[in-house]
Symmetry: C2
Amino acid sequence: MLFFTPHLLIKLKTMTSPVSITPAFSGPDGLITAVAQDAATGAVLMVAHMNREAWDETLASGRVVYFSRARKRLWRKGEESGNVQNVKAVFVDCDADTVLLKVEQIGGAACHEGYPTCFFRQVTPDGVKVVAERVFNPQEVYKKG
Amino acid sequence: MLFFTPHLLIKLKTMTSPVSITPAFSGPDGLITAVAQDAATGAVLMVAHMNREAWDETLASGRVVYFSRARKRLWRKGEESGNVQNVKAVFVDCDADTVLLKVEQIGGAACHEGYPTCFFRQVTPDGVKVVAERVFNPQEVYKKG
């Protein structure tokens, strides 16, 4: 699905005098923060980062692409597990350094540990508790070799 | 409200062999990322950061405290506007470098620009559109002098 044609200078059409905004890739590492939220359930799935190339490809392809800080390369979410994220809606925050992506999470699990969300542990007065059920076994999905 | 007594070494009680986890304040800047989500509506309100002191005070007081990277000090959310965030639930992600806070947003607006959420601009094929209504006028709330 072509979400829309890639372009980074976007006109803020609803303001009196249109202005162009671009997510602020101007930070020291050239990255913005991206929050993925399940478009259907509202669950916050994960938080990761994007460089300009990842943002561009995400908008052009309609599939979420992050920039992996650990691997220092584009990370096409689901490239290994198949659990891709289809873009349903994109929002930019007031400072333009964070974006919110409403997505359709294929496979029902965003977390590499096999849970629907990366936020599967709740901090409670009695300690930290796992509050989600595993959808897949990471050892089966991420096979080595 | 005392959300719970402050302690940072939390036992992950539901795993076979209990482990202690602490959000990873070990990064270069000693900060973790914090996502605030409206506990009632599921709306993602904002993304900010916490140092260990902010995290500690948030858990102890039941009100969200961030660390402002711009001002380099604790930022008790709502300290100026009155729009505090009461903690309803706290989650830690798989890497323990991001936390999700489900909150009651007092005043109905998390954004310093007066909108319910900082993600009030949607990126669409036709450009960026403001998709929320202002709850307050920033010029009235943040008076100078």
